[in-house]
């Protein structure tokens, strides 16, 4: 009996393969599965006449075969239906039509730059810290060794809110807040908004973003500073970037440096972006001034450290060749959707 079933199985498969129309498939179905005279049904009907030990196994096999053939018939129908429909259709599907688009949301280029820089410094084991944007004068100036009535305050021209409050003009404030809270070793960057009452033009906005960095530990030296910032520049601007560390002045670092990178636009030959010098200033940095350590109660003899700061808009402008800082805050979607 079992051999008989497998023969029927093969036969049914062949018959279906030969059936080239829906009608032909229907004939095959009637032949095998028809309620009256269908081969499988006949077998099932005959089961009670079999020897008792064969009844159950034959019944199972026959049912399985019935299911299998039903499935084949269904498949054959679907296939043929598709085929008949296509051959009937006069329309041609235009494969060259554009794909349908779901809206794609973009992150602001400034966010993207901050995220990328955070990623680089995370790889260098820096923590990410944040501080308030409305600050007490103390954190923006005094604690950073910027005395009242000193011309150096002019470099950090500031919006005042009264009652010794101001909009921070630099993210260096976060240095103090972190050192007040924690003991060395410290290795952190602090991204955020800063504000300066600059006349708004292509290069100046009254609100922009900075990223401050700070490392404090025993034995931290100027060569560590050069090392970390070189790794950063290579990571952000590419391996062949050339760097220049120039002496400069910041009240909260001593010695202080400004760091230029070779102009990526003109490859150092001189262009309008680099004011024809071949160099572009991208970072301010220096060894933390002992006065700052004293202010936060660190032993300036025991601990040394370096700090650095960079302008996010400037880095983004350099990266993409953007010539007007105002574009970042106008939020024209035709601009934002390019990033």
């Amino acid at each position: 009996m079992q051999e008989g079933l497998s023969e029927i199985q093969n036969q049914a498969k062949d018959d279906l393969a030969k059936a080239e129309s829906l009608d032909a498939v229907e004939q095959v179905r009637t032949r095998y599965l028809g309620r009256k005279g269908g081969i499988i049904n006949e077998i099932i009907k005959a089961i009670p006449g079999l020897p008792p030990e064969q009844r159950s196994s034959t019944g199972k096999s026959a049912n399985m075969l019935k299911q299998e053939i039903s499935k084949w018939i269904e498949d054959a129908r679907v296939k043929l239906a598709d085929k008949e429909q296509t051959s009937e259709a006069k329309e041609m599907f235009d494969l060259s039509l554009p794909g349908e688009h779901k809206p794609y949301g973009h992150r602001h280029p400034i966010t993207q730059t901050i995220d990328e820089i955070k990623g680089i410094f995370r790889k260098l084991c820096f923590d990410i810290e944040y501080g308030p944007e409305v600050e007490h004068e103390y954190y923006n100036f005094d604690a950073l060794n910027i005395p009242a009535d000193h011309p150096s305050r002019e470099d950090f021209d500031t919006f005042y809110l009264g009652n010794k409050r101001l909009l921070r003009s630099q993210t260096s404030t976060v240095q103090i807040r972190v050192m007040e809270k924690k003991k060395p070793p410290i290795r952190m960057i602090a991204p955020g908004k800063v504000f300066r009452p600059d006349t708004v033009d292509a290069r100046h906005a009254s609100m922009f973003h900075q990223i401050e960095g700070l490392t404090v530990d025993e034995g931290v030296s100027f060569s560590d500073l050069k090392y970390v910032l070189t790794l950063f520049a290579q990571s952000y601007f590419g391996q062949d970037v050339k760097m220049r560390f120039r002496p400069s002045f910041f009240p909260f670092t001593e010695p202080s440096a400004e760091i230029d990178i070779s102009c990526s636009i003109c490859k150092g030959k001189g262009c309008s972006v680099c004011s024809h010098s071949g160099w572009v200033e991208v970072l301010g940095a220096g060894m933390v001034d002992p006065n700052v350590f004293e202010t936060v109660g660190y032993d300036a003899e025991k601990y040394t450290g370096f700090a650095f700061g960079m302008g996010v808009e400037r880095l983004t402008m350099l990266r993409y060749g953007i010539d007007n800082i105002r574009l970042f805050f106008e939020n024209d979607l035709r601009f934002l959707s390019q990033f």
Binding site: K102, P103, Y104, G105, H106, R107, I110, T111, D115, C125, D127, I128, Y130, P132, E133, V134, H136, D149, H150, P151, S152, D155, F159, Y160, L161, G162, N163, R165, L167, P185, R187, F195, P197, S206, M207, D217, G219, V220, S221, F222, S223, D224, K226, Y227, V228, R244, F245, R246, P247, P255, E258, D289, T304, F328, F329, N331, D332, L333, R334, L336
Partner: protein, 671 residues
């Protein structure tokens, strides 16, 4: 500070092209911003940082160049032959306020001949952008630029009482300055006066009345040291500044006062003739305090990461005119010259050595090792939230924290208190710290509509600043504001997607909220587990008209800190069900007052174990439904964890649900 390439050679011989000179100065910390050709000369514009007033004169710059090229610094001769008459017999100087004027010197030069300067002098001062006036003014300017010490020449015969009194101004006194500005003086200001009136605002500008003119015969030459802070304050108050005030503010060299005076006297003698009276009146109350600093080689090398030797350090310091007192194995003891007020600690000397030795010689190497960084939950939630919103097609914007009155116009979101005022705004109409983000998004939407972008699905995640009592520090609230163009429920869906992606399981409640920004109907306060998450609504007609919007945007503004608090980024895996679900679609007819939340809540309250979901389909009102009623369609999903549910079981549950709904709200199954 402007420097002439040729003129600088007077003080230091160098054989550098102008480009090389500019580069070397830049590398030593004196950034050359621009080099401009002037006739056969060049003008270098040098950015002098506020800690280096000693470089606000040619000699100071030459000192740096001499160090760079290792040549000698050449200081001009200031010896001249004086007349027999003593200056003390001609005039007197009284310094009433020694704190604001620690040193004042006066020389008298008689019988000068005022006229144009010789061509060489005119050329020099022209080369650095100054305008020649007459020989006396040109000489005082020349010496100022050369030495960094400001000078002033008075027409001596116009000084009442033939005397100088250095005193504080009296409230109400006025003076017309050389540039024509009228100065209203106050008692905080220091003036140079004669016996009757102020003749100069100390350190800032002389008065017109006593200015040297063609008719001038006798001159009183002032050279002084004024308190930097007072000069700065006065200059700010009067909105009056000059090459003199610029230098005094940054602290001129008190020991250069007499040298510059002699130098000018000698030049006047040579160029304008006349006789210099014998001697000088020098009212000097400055204690000559020597600043001595000890520098440890070990500290220098460890701070810089260098291995520099003692001879190199000694050479650098000496060329910068630091006087080396004593040397031990590890230490130098050094006297700081008076013109380097910025150097008073060991670290300042270390900077000098590093700067001159060259930052490029410091190796790029590190011994700070690896460490584990802290997790930053805020960053993680921010990252996740932004990726969800971006994924839903919204563009991120960043808008200005400083806004105008507009933010108060249509109702306040977070506080009714007035926003914090900026005391010195740059735009008259924008002087407040924002206390919501929504209004800024509306402006962005407007801007884009103006440029033909009709749909702006945008969001911002930034701080707002909520004022606190007694002008305290504001609460800086991190907010997430979203503007959507696809209707209220679509935007609510965005909020719900954010919550579910942050694995926040607490129920989001929408409670009707009257709010001017939003339409009377579609306006809600969003609550999450009892705390106010934020607000959502469709803009009111008024706002839409106000902004002239051509679409009907919806806005949601959320307290992002609540999301950070409640987010669960750990998450956990839920087993995929083993047994199939059974679904039943239902449509019920109810009164208008019955809301979806009630229906859902009612079903949930039955606590039927095998209900796996209640999905809302739609609300229908129309011909097939009785007037004043609505049909609510939804799907019930049933599933058991341990077996396949039988159809009759589900039928019974569905029946139970309908019965309860009907008892609670009088609903009927839709026919």
């Amino acid at each position: 500070m402007k420097i002439s390439y040729n003129w600088l050679k007077d003080y230091c011989k160098y054989d550098l092209s102008v480009a090389t000179l500019a580069e070397r100065l830049t590398n030593a910390g004196l950034v050359v911003d621009a080099v401009k050709p002037v006739d056969d000369d060049y003008c270098l514009e040098i950015e002098v940082t506020s800690n280096r007033p000693d470089c606000l004169g040619f000699i100071g710059i030459a000192r740096e160049v001499a160090n760079i090229v290792r040549s000698e610094l050449l200081i001009p001769d200031v010896e001249y032959a004086a007349s027999d008459e003593s200056v003390n017999d001609i005039t007197t100087v009284t310094v009433e306020d020694k704190e604001l004027c620690p040193r004042y010197t006066a020389r008298i030069i008689k019988d000068v001949k005022i006229g144009p300067s010789p061509e060489w002098l005119q050329k020099r001062i022209t080369s650095i952008g100054l305008r020649p006036v007459n020989n006396i003014a040109d000489i005082t300017n020349y010496v100022l630029m050369e030495s960094g010490q400001p000078l002033h020449a008075f027409d001596f015969d116009k000084l009442s009482g033939k005397e100088i009194i250095v005193r504080r101004a009296k409230n109400g006194e006025t003076m017309e300055a050389i540039d024509g500005s009228k100065c209203a003086l106050t008692e905080e200001m220091l003036v140079i006066a004669d016996s009757q009136k102020p003749v100069a605002v100390a350190g800032i500008m002389g008065g017109r009345d006593t200015e040297v003119s063609d008719a001038t015969k006798n001159i009183l030459l002032e050279s002084a040291f004024f308190d930097p802070r007072n000069v700065r304050r006065t200059s700010r108050k009067l909105c009056l500044s000059s090459d003199s005030s610029y230098r005094f503010e940054r602290r001129a060299d008190p020991e250069c006062v007499d040298w510059a005076s002699r130098r000018a006297a000698k030049m006047i003698l040579e160029i304008a003739g006349g006789q210099v009276a014998e001697g000088v009146i020098d009212q000097n109350s400055l204690e000559s305090k020597k600043v001595s600093v000890t520098l440890r080689m070990s500290r220098l090398n460890s701070l810089l990461g260098l291995d520099i030797d003692k001879d190199t350090v000694k050479d650098i310091l000496e060329r910068l005119q630091f006087k080396i007192n004593s040397v031990t194995d590890d230490c130098f003891s050094v006297d700081v010259p008076s013109f380097r007020g910025d150097v008073y600690r060991e670290v300042d000397l270390i900077e000098e050595v590093a700067r001159v030795h060259g930052y490029d010689k410091i190796p790029v190497k590190s011994n700070i090792g690896v460490k584990l960084t802290q997790d930053n939950i805020f960053d993680k939630v921010t990252e996740k939230t932004k990726s969800v919103i971006s994924g839903l097609g919204f563009d991120e914007v960043i808008t200005d924290s400083i806004v105008g009155e507009l933010q108060e116009r249509h109702g306040n979101i977070w506080t009714d208190d007035r926003g914090i005022k900026i005391m010195n705004p740059i735009r008259q109409d924008e002087y407040l710290l924002r206390k919501a983000l929504a209004h800024n998004l509306l402006r962005v939407k407007k801007h884009n509509q103006n440029y033909g972008v009709e749909k702006a699905n945008i969001y911002e995640l930034s701080k707002i600043y909520l004022p606190q009592e007694d002008d305290g520090m504001p609460e800086e609230k991190e907010c997430l504001s979203i503007l959507g163009e696809e209707g209220f429920l679509s935007l609510k869906g965005v909020v719900e997607t954010i919550l579910s992606q942050l694995n926040i399981v607490q129920k989001l409640e929408s409670i009707h909220y009257d709010f001017g920004l939003f339409s009377p109907e579609k306006s809600a306060e969003l609550k999450l587990g009892g705390s106010v998450l934020g607000y959502i609504g469709e803009l009111s007609r008024e706002v839409i008209n106000d902004y002239d919007f051509r679409s009907k945007p919806c806005v949601a503004e959320l307290d992002f800190n609540i999301l950070v608090d409640k987010a669960n980024l750990e998450g956990s895996y839920r087993k995929i069900p083993m047994f199939p679900m059974v679904t039943r679609d239902m449509a019920i007819v109810s009164d208008e007052e019955v809301i979806w939340a009630d229906i859902k809540g009612c079903i949930e309250s039955l606590k039927i174990d095998c209900i796996d979901g209640i999905e809302f389909f739609d609300v229908y009102r129309g011909r097939q439904i009785e007037k004043g009623k609505k049909s609510i369609a939804f799907r019930l999903i049933f599933r058991a964890d341990d077996r396949t549910l039988r159809s009759d079981e589900v039928d019974a549950l569905q029946e139970k649900i309908l019965e309860n709904l009907s008892n609670a709200f009088g609903v009927k199954l839709r026919a």
